[in-house]
């Protein structure tokens, strides 16, 4: 009986210890950073202004941004921020908001305590906080991570 159990245990381990007999090979690793923004190339035809605006931004996406890579440290990116700004205010305020965002983007010494992190690892800075509507500002402590 004892020998039987012992034989069974040893035999079981030998038989089933390794089922994967395929030789292990080096795996091809992709170091490409996937873009976190899903590009929507549809041009907004609501009015002349939005057609021109979205047309210009989409052209920038195709000719420059997609080739240059995902370099903006913010979420949403500056171009997306521009579209959001114009949609939530007007063209003039949108341009001013974009100019301000571009200045903050150019800043080499970004204040870590100024922005929370987005789950993509970028700094979270939505356009809604800059529309000058006090009650619309969404304060998120900088030590939190925003999931979008």
């Amino acid at each position: 009986m004892k020998n039987g159990v012992l034989f069974f245990l040893i035999g079981f381990n030998i038989c089933y210890a390794q089922t994967d007999w395929v030789k292990w090979n080096a795996v091809e690793i992709s170091y490409e950073l996937p873009s976190i923004e899903i590009r929507n190339f549809k041009i907004d035809n609501g009015n002349v202004g939005s057609t021109l605006l979205t047309g210009a931004v989409k052209t920038y996406h195709v000719l420059i941004s997609d080739i240059d890579g995902d370099n903006c440290p913010f979420f949403p990116s500056c171009s997306e921020f521009f579209i959001q700004s114009v949609k939530s205010t007007n063209v003039l305020a949108g341009i001013l908001m974009f100019a301000d965002r571009f200045t903050r983007d150019t800043n080499f010494f970004k204040n870590r305590a100024q922005y929370p992190f987005h789950s993509s690892g970028k700094l979270y800075d939505p356009a809604v906080n800059y529309t000058l509507k006090f009650n619309n500002i969404n304060h998120i402590p900088y030590d939190q991570i925003v999931k979008d």
Binding site: M1, A93, I95, L96, M97, F98, A99, D100, R101, F102, T103, R104, T106, N107, F108, F109, K110, N111, Q114, N129, Y130, T131, L132, F134, I137, H139, P141
Partner: protein, 295 residues
């Protein structure tokens, strides 16, 4: 092995030990009614103690369909409130307001939920009109009434009337909250705009964003210099191009300084309200004295 005598019962004991637990572990499962009201109550109480309110709600709900038990109803309402189902919780607490020994606690919980819902104007109306006011917890309700002024934008009452309901030990902290609410350390958007209009970036520095301020100053300065230099060299197109960009970034900085001030002020408001809520939690005005809650 020679000389070693095999015990004839060893195999029997081996098998018996292996399978006896499996065969005899549960012999009377068919005789127990796990879904009887009493067992549902017991399991509900167990889940409640474990703070598994979501599942405790189901057990209490089934139990209360058959039995009428004030303690179970109180715990049911409490669990509902903990899970954010406040309207249902209020309805169940109301069922205990009259002819129940738990009416005092239920009324306090009623006020607690109304406070937590954040509609402080309605909460103060309840206090003023004394709707379902718990008689023995009047002081707690009055304290919460004062705190409600710190958490919304309505006009604050007089400071002496504000702190008079608090104990001597609490008065200093509450008065501190009161003064910070009345005179919040906000930055002026107008000052930020004027500063940025005079020296680009100064408004950002005023709100504590030094890097942004210096960058705005450099960016506007460089673009202005490029515009001046191109006009001087009779490159009119480039001159106007850089002038346009300089104006855009200059105006954007004035706008951004105002926005930055607002964001700063919202941060001040957020941290103040957070501090008040932490203070309230630490003081435990809401804490019930009922042993059966086991918290």
């Amino acid at each position: 092995m020679k000389g070693c005598k095999r015990n004839p019962f060893s195999a029997f004991f081996f098998i018996l030990t292996l399978f006896s637990n499996l065969l005899l572990a549960q012999t009377n499962s068919s005789q127990i009614d796990f879904f009887s009201p009493q067992n549902r109550l017991k399991f509900g109480d167990y889940l409640f103690r474990e703070q598994d309110y979501l599942r405790a709600i189901n057990e209490y709900q089934e139990y209360l369909k058959i039995a009428n038990n004030d303690t179970a109803r109180f715990k049911f309402a409490f669990a509902l409130a903990e899970m954010g189902r406040e309207t249902e919780a209020l309805d169940n607490y109301k069922g205990l307001f009259f002819s129940s020994p738990l009416n005092e606690g239920a009324r306090l919980e009623f006020y607690k939920i109304n406070f937590q819902q954040g509609d402080f104007v309605r909460f103060r109306d309840l206090c003023t009109e004394k709707i379902y006011l718990p008689e023995n917890s009047d002081l707690i309700i009055q304290k919460l009434n004062r705190f409600s002024y710190l958490l919304d934008d309505n006009l604050l009452p007089d400071s002496a009337a504000f702190v008079d309901v608090f104990d001597q030990g609490e008065k200093e902290q509450v008065l501190n909250f009161y003064m910070r609410k009345k005179f919040p350390p906000y930055k002026s958007p107008l000052t930020a705009a004027v500063l940025s209009a005079i020296i680009p970036g100064a408004g950002k520095i005023y709100t504590g964003n030094y890097g942004d301020g210096i960058t705005a100053f450099l960016l506007t300065g460089i673009l202005s210099f490029l515009a001046y230099d191109n006009f001087k060299a009779d490159h009119d197109f480039r001159g106007w191009l850089f002038t346009g960009l300089a104006v855009m970034f200059y105006s954007g900085n004035v706008y951004g300084s105002v926005a930055s001030t607002q964001i700063y002020n919202v941060g001040i408001k957020f941290h103040f309200e957070n501090e008040v809520k932490i203070y309230l939690n630490e003081k435990k005005y809401f804490l019930n004295k009922y042993d059966f809650l086991n918290r």
